[in-house]
Symmetry: C2
Subunit: 402 residues, 2 copies
């Protein structure tokens, strides 16, 4: 008999039919002799509807009251899911975040889990009950309800799996697992059987919206074995775990991220500390800078280009314009017409030639590279947005053809 | 500076506009220098919508999970109301039932408040915050969420007022206060300035749907002064408190209750214990019997008639038919075509002639009396339903004309 933690997202429980479907999946695992703990998100659009209600009354409501409001979404889900399991005839109990002992820090709307007091859950499991826990929420030291922010339910599930020493944490979603690239833009894409935490982290942060990074980081830290799979079929998913890459492919996946924009500061004075000043200014405003390129200066002037997310482009430009005299650039240019295409693979660091092979693929496809950045397990390039899909296909063919 | 507990029902907070309206009312009381604690119900149809969601999945869901589900309704209200108050710019905090320390017994869906641990509320009041508490809900000794059943939010408010020793508990509703009778069926009806707990109890149980009996009983027990008033205007409402009736009118109100049905057991054997057997049978099935009349038997047979609510008529008839051989009646008849009309007044008990005056009013209006029941502070008669409004008007004219 094992202990399984399962997580179901909002689309998996969006209506009565889906809730019953999820209930059957849970009771199957239970009837097979396992102890089962489930973390569940708010149904479909519930969270958005609640945010809409709040905005109508006060667009600047405190985060404490927003958390009080939003936490009801998951509470509705756990009650309905428990009712569905009752109907099937298995013993079950639903627990809110605070009832499940999920203790967080005090940062409302983006709280971090500090620890889980598992006493109540263990008591329920000892009575052979299925335990349904509200994801995305916890309680802080003031006994106030907090929510965990984006990807919160994944994080709840992994934290529960870690605290309970579960055998596996199954993340149910609307895709079959982790793919070599987005199947919607590359016909050759195929599902990976397993992938390492680090690779998953890079894939997630690069736009493969399967698992939120926080949950993968936590899974890595506590060595929780994740299984990413579909709630709509019984296909084997993808395991995320410590994988030995000997004898394995170097490149595991190709990603495309359209959520980027490029800013170029042309003709900046070529003096030490200039780049530091610019990026410190942006960091203070909470703007994340991704790729950075600085041309080799001639002693008089140089060009600095970097990317930010599309949503932060306007804010970044505003700051740069406000400090134009300090920056003293000849010209500030920007464009949203770019995408970031990356390859990810843990084996890459020890192998030469991977970057060259990637650039060759792009050259063969006549795609111009605007920026390049590399890390131990990934290589990213910036290309024109209308060439991004072609770039993904070209790179996928080069590295991942079956 | 006083301490005021206010209660707002579901219609008072049904949409953003109403929520803002209620927020202004609360902050006005706060700005006048009072400490304010508010108990609030779920918005408009929220509770019904949640029940509908549950039924779609499992019509026989456990009460524990129903309470988990329904408690979200009030949690949404308190968050939204707190946001509205934040917008006005007053310090405020919302608290769920468990955060407010509302401890109940373990009877899910119809829990009784055992005590309120007011530590948290006092702490918030000490920081001069307005405290918004979720009505209708509490927590039991297992740390599980319970709901209080019908009239629960009124009960929450009165319990809070009692525990906090509030100066007054203001119950906001969609009527202006307690009337001598239903203004919709009697043009002469007028609002009472004050009324005693006992009179209010009789009026509430007789169909004046202003305050739930549980809350009035609790107010009486802890001597909480209630003010029933409208959330839509600034009219003075009706105070419910210990009132000396010396020099006051004998009759305070006339009520009509259409939710009744009459069952007659004709030609029952006239032996001791027969009535006992019948009513014990019904009591065991949880069916409340209201008015009872037994004809004087002739030693051989007698007639027993009684009333039940419309909703319980079918269940009652089923039980009687199942036990037909034991009851051994010549005939069992039933009708829904009846209404109960009552007069209520604490002074009645010491005054003769009140009943006679009531019957005279009905005789003058040519209304036939089918059954009669009296208590210390009320007299009820059963009449044909299509004559009930006429009966109310005739009696009101007789006793309560201005």
């Amino acid at each position: 008999m094992g202990l399984i933690v399962q997580k179901y997202g909002g689309t998996s429980v969006k209506d009565a039919e889906r809730v019953m479907n999820v209930a059957r999946r849970i009771t199957d695992a239970y009837k097979a002799g396992n102890n089962v703990v489930v973390a569940v998100s708010a149904q479909g659009d519930t969270t958005d509807d609640l945010i809409e209600k709040a905005k109508e009354i006060n667009p600047n409501a405190s985060k404490r009251e927003m958390d009080m409001l939003l936490a009801t979404g998951e509470q509705i889900s756990i009650a309905l899911l428990a009712m569905a399991i009752e109907k099937i005839g298995c013993p079950v109990i639903s627990l809110t975040g605070w009832q499940a002992g999920v203790k967080t820090d005090t940062k409302y709307s983006a709280a971090r889990i500090k620890n889980i007091d598992t006493e109540r859950i263990h008591k329920e499991l000892d009575s052979r009950r299925i335990v349904i826990v509200a994801g995305f929420q916890g309680i802080n030291k003031y006994d106030d309800i907090t929510t965990l922010g984006r990807g919160g339910s994944d994080t709840s599930a992994v934290a529960l799996a870690a605290a309970l020493h579960a055998d596996v944490c199954e993340i149910y979603t609307d895709v079959d697992g982790v793919y070599t690239t987005d199947p919607r833009i590359c016909k050759e894409a195929y599902k990976l059987d397993d992938i390492s935490y680090d690779e998953m982290l890079e894939l997630a942060s690069l736009g493969a919206n399967v698992l939120h990074n926080r949950s993968v980081e936590m899974a890595k830290k506590y060595n929780v074995k994740l299984s990413v799979r579909s709630s709509l079929n019984n296909n084997e998913g993808t395991y995320v775990k410590e994988v030995s890459q000997v004898e394995k492919m170097l490149v595991r996946g190709v990603t495309r991220d359209n959520d980027c924009a490029r800013i170029a500061l042309c003709g900046v004075e070529d003096t030490p500390g200039k780049a530091f000043q610019v990026f410190e200014m942006l960091a203070k405003a909470g703007i994340c800078v991704d790729l950075i390129i600085q041309s080799i200066g001639d002693g008089k002037s140089k060009d600095i280009s970097f990317t930010v997310t599309e949503g932060e482009l306007d804010a970044a430009l505003k700051i740069l314009e406000e400090n134009a005299s300090m920056i003293n650039a000849r010209e500030i240019k920007s464009t949203k017409d770019v995408s970031k295409v990356s390859i990810v693979g843990a084996g890459m660091v020890n192998n030469t030639g991977v970057a060259a092979k990637m650039f060759e693929a792009l050259y063969d496809a006549q795609i111009n590279i605007k920026m390049i950045a590399t890390s131990e397990i990934k290589i990213s390039v910036l290309v024109a947005r209308n060439q991004a899909e072609a770039a993904v296909n070209a790179i996928h063919s080069k590295f991942l053809s079956k």
